[in-house]
């Protein structure tokens, strides 16, 4: 299963990076969304997928899934939620001020004069 997941994560990253490199601010934001999904699945995969039961103590269960990656993912999910929300608002404020979501028009001259 790890093989499948690794390839899947690769696809998620590919799609995310492709979107992030595009010119439309909207696509970029969607790309970051995919990026964080990929990262979260990766943590889970890296912990190993072989666990037989959820990591909750109940009678007669001994083979748990690795709880630590799950805790890490939970933290990461919440953080990326906050950041995505922030970014979303930043994007639409930028659009409101600059009247465009084209990254080529949002380029700075990086103060080259």
């Amino acid at each position: 299963m790890e093989l499948v997941m690794a390839i899947l994560i690769g696809v998620l990253f590919t799609a995310a990076v492709y979107l992030i490199l595009s010119r439309s601010l909207l696509k970029i934001i969607i790309g970051t969304g995919l990026l964080s999904h990929g990262a979260h699945l990766l943590i889970l995969t890296m912990g190993g997928l072989g666990g037989l039961a959820p990591p909750v103590i109940s009678e007669g269960v001994t083979d748990f899934a690795d709880p630590l990656p799950q805790a890490l993912i939970l933290t990461a999910i919440v953080i990326s939620f906050g950041v995505t929300a922030f970014m979303l608002v930043m994007a639409y404020r930028a659009y409101a001020v600059h009247k465009t979501d084209d990254m080529n028009q949002l380029k700075g001259n990086d103060e080259h004069d």
Partner: protein, 802 residues
């Protein structure tokens, strides 16, 4: 008394100068300043007695003892000689400046602060026994020189010259620091004395030659040697007292001091002798050649200084030969070097002051506008004449003596048999002689074009008259010294020169009196140097008279090919060129920047993966593929494809939501109920947020992105994807250590009092993560509030209108 503190006396005095300048308007601030060098001069003369006996005095002030860095005032013959020059000439220059600079028009406060700063720095350079503090003072001289050159900072020339001198000398200083550090590594100490003591062990060390070259870079830049001399002519923008002090008598000699000081360590090296002698001679030749081209009085003097510094440098190089050959033939080169150093300080100082007087009284320094001032300014003329003739190397002036010795040393080099000198040695006297001819020419050129010939008073901006008495005191004193030294060279030699020579060549002498050099003006008719001098006078005189005929040949050299042009181009390149260069890759587009990052990431990581043999896929460690997992993977893939392909923003959000939900399903499949719950809720709230925000955003569009761009994007994206996958497989296949999570499973009930391990990890084992993760959420919340409510964009006019 800890006389090391005296190094700082000028700086301490400088602290009071602005106050004195502001409070006491009636008296020229210079009078207060004058006391400092005078006191110091008198104090340092008391050491002559010690050094004459080959002794030295030592005083130490710790700075960073842990790293072996301290301020050490180490007074031996060489240091005392320089200290006396610095304070002596310093006193005269301050005296001169009192009349040169108007107390009402000039910002004397600043001027004297810089000057005193310089004085401290210079004393520090010549007295420091610790290379690091030597470097400290070295840079301080560069800085104070920068400030002094830029004293009239509204003039373009001043700023240009200040920057140029600082760039060149600081560059040299930094390289020198590198050399010092290498010495420190080789010898395990920063003390010059200790380094010298163990210098024999350095030869053959891998850093030896490198250290040598680096230190020489420092010396050459400071002493305006070829090709670094270019800063010196531009430094003439400084007020004349400064030129006289820094740029002829003292600061430029710091490089010579350095070479002299490190001779005992490096003399063993062939490279040292070749570089010091060769570059010195080349500089001598070059400087004298181009001095004749100049039309500005101070520029002539600047080039002549360059040339004379080259002369002394070559002598120092020749003097190092004694390390290899113990023959009397070479023994006086070092003596000649030190002797000429003193002489040069006297005659060049006076000449600079005269140039300043001419400038001050006529309003110009352009030699084409000057002429016939002899009758109007007789005293100035006399001083200028004495100085020039000494510079040209004619009797009865001190320059003659040292020039003779110089020629003698250059002739002697022919007889040196090591390091290929037997083949190339003959070049040295020839070049030296030609350079001396030009020296003769520019000396005459300087004094006679200014003071003899027709008067062109009409062309002068001001009506000339003799300088005031006060301004003449210093040049006259110096001129008198020029003459006096000619008659008592051996007294000077005994008191000052020989102790210095001994300090430079400790491996040869144990007492100054052992330096077996006796200076005399007359060596008999059979001495070759006499005939060389006669030749110089004859050929030089001839060439001087026909000067107008051949001076125009200097025009052949195009301006673009000069070293100055090189510097200008470099500086231009550093502004415009770098700007253009940086524009190429700093596009301001985030896509470009991310392309760099992603490309670097995938290329390096994949390369490392295979170079380090880290790629491994171990199927046995993988859990078996489940059908629902596979189906869900297909669903996820489809959703991702739909995200990529969707043409509408709603479609994109829906499919992003679908991705999120299938991720949640994965969490279900892989037994992570907490994650599934959280992911589901977050996904929904996110979708709501997206919908909320998208009402403010435009329709989805790729803005006509080019196919080629899309292709590049796709390649890079694929690269990142492959990287992530490969590393994931490899690291999962190499689970080399048991995970720590067993502990959580064992203790969650007994010690943490919970059942849901993930939740207990979140609030207990790793609660700290959670505490700050909610902080992130909280900041995001207030951030969004701030972003939406605070809009300064409305207020500002707009920064885009430029």
């Amino acid at each position: 008394m800890e006389f090391v503190l005296l190094i700082f006396l000028p700086i301490v005095a400088a602290l009071f100068i602005p106050l004195l300048f502001r409070k006491i308007k009636g008296i020229h601030t210079g009078w207060f300043v004058l006391a400092v060098p005078v006191v110091l001069f008198i104090y340092y003369t008391t050491f002559i007695k010690t050094t004459m006996d080959g002794g030295h005095a030592l005083s130490e002030l710790q700075w960073i003892p842990s790293l072996g860095i301290s301020f050490v005032s180490y007074l031996d013959g060489l240091s005392i000689l320089f200290s006396l020059l610095i304070t002596g000439i310093g006193a005269l220059v301050v005296l001169y400046s009192i009349f040169y600079l108007d107390k009402n028009k000039e910002k004397l406060g600043n001027f004297y602060v810089y000057l005193l700063l310089f004085m401290s720095a210079m004393l520090g350079v010549v007295q420091s026994d610790n290379v690091i503090s030597l470097y400290l003072f070295w840079e301080l001289t560069s800085i104070s020189s920068f400030l002094l050159i830029g004293y009239w900072f509204t003039r373009d020339g001043s700023r240009f010259g200040a920057l140029k001198s600082m760039m060149v000398t600081v560059f040299g200083g930094l390289m020198m620091l590198g050399g010092f550090i290498l010495l420190g590594i080789m010898g395990g100490t920063f003390s010059i004395r200790e380094l010298i003591a163990q210098s024999s062990t350095f030869v053959g060390h891998e850093f030896f030659t490198l250290a040598l070259v680096l230190i020489l870079l420092g010396a050459f830049t400071k002493s305006a040697q070829f090709p670094f001399y270019i800063w010196l002519p531009d430094a003439m923008e400084a007020p004349t007292p400064v030129s006289a002090y820094l740029h002829s008598a003292t600061m430029v000699k710091a490089g010579l001091y350095l070479v002299a000081r490190f001779t005992p360590i490096f003399a063993a090296s062939e490279v040292w002798i070749w570089l010091v002698t060769g570059i010195g001679l080349l500089t001598l030749f070059w400087g004298s050649l181009f001095a004749v081209k100049q039309t500005d009085l101070k520029a002539i003097l600047a080039f002549s200084t360059v040339s004379q510094l080259g002369l002394i440098m070559s002598l120092l190089g020749a003097g190092a030969i004694t390390f290899h050959v113990d023959e009397a033939l070479f023994s006086f080169a070092m003596f000649a070097a030190i002797f000429h150093l003193i002489n040069h300080a006297t005659f060049k100082g006076s000449l600079f002051m005269i140039a300043g007087i001419v400038d001050h009284e006529t309003g110009t320094r352009d030699i084409r506008k000057l002429g016939g001032l002899m009758s109007i300014m007789p005293v100035s003329f006399t001083v200028a004449f004495i100085g020039s003739m000494s510079m040209a190397g004619l009797p009865p002036f001190n320059g003659f003596l040292s020039k003779e010795m110089f020629l003698q040393s250059m002739l002697a080099i022919r007889h040196f048999e090591l390091f290929n000198f037997s083949t190339w040695g003959v070049v040295f006297p020839v070049v030296a002689w030609i350079a001396s001819v030009f020296t003769f020419i520019y000396s005459f050129y300087f004094v006679f074009k200014t003071f003899a010939g027709k008067q062109k008073i009409g062309k002068l901006p001001r009506k000339p008259h003799e300088a005031p008495f006060g301004m003449l005191i210093s040049p006259v004193i110096l001129a008198m010294l020029v003459v006096t030294i000619f008659f008592i060279p051996n007294v000077v030699g005994k008191w000052l020169v020989k102790p210095a020579v001994m300090a430079i060549q400790p491996y040869q002498y144990s007492h100054p009196s052992e330096v077996g050099v006796h200076v005399s003006a007359w060596h008999g008719f059979d001495s070759p140097e006499l005939w060389l001098t006669v030749g110089i006078v004859l050929i030089g005189g001839l060439l001087y008279l026909s000067l107008s005929k051949w001076q125009k040949f200097y025009g052949i050299q195009p301006d673009t090919l000069s070293l100055n042009a090189l510097y200008d181009t470099t500086m231009m390149f550093s502004e415009k060129g770098m700007n253009r260069l940086s524009r190429i890759y700093m596009t301001g587009l985030i896509r470009t920047y991310l392309l760099y990052i992603f490309a670097f990431l995938s290329v390096t990581t994949i390369a490392m993966l295979f170079l380090q043999d880290a790629f491994a896929v171990d199927m046995s460690s993988f859990s078996k593929i489940s059908a629902y997992g596979l189906i869900n993977a297909v669903i996820l893939l489809l959703a991702v494809a739909f995200v990529l392909l969707s043409k509408t923003r709603l479609g994109a959000i829906i499919s992003l939501g679908a991705v999120g939900y299938s991720v949640a399903l994965f969490f279900v499949i892989f037994k992570a109920p907490d994650l599934a719950l959280t992911q589901l809720v977050i996904e929904t709230v996110s979708v709501a947020l997206f919908l909320l925000a998208f009402q403010h955003l435009p329709k989805l569009s790729d803005h006509g992105e080019k196919k080629s761009h899309k292709f590049v994007n796709a390649i890079i994206a694929l690269g990142v994807g492959v990287t992530v996958t490969l590393v994931a497989l490899s690291s999962h296949s190499q689970k080399l250590v048991q995970s720590i999570s067993q502990y959580y499973k064992d203790t969650v009930e007994t010690e943490a009092g919970g059942g849901n391990i993930v939740n207990v990890i979140l609030v207990d084992y790793r609660g700290f993560d959670t505490l700050f993760e909610i902080a992130v959420l909280a900041i995001a919340g207030i951030g969004v509030l701030g972003m939406i409510k605070l809009r300064l964009a409305r207020k500002e006019s707009s920064d885009e209108n430029k």
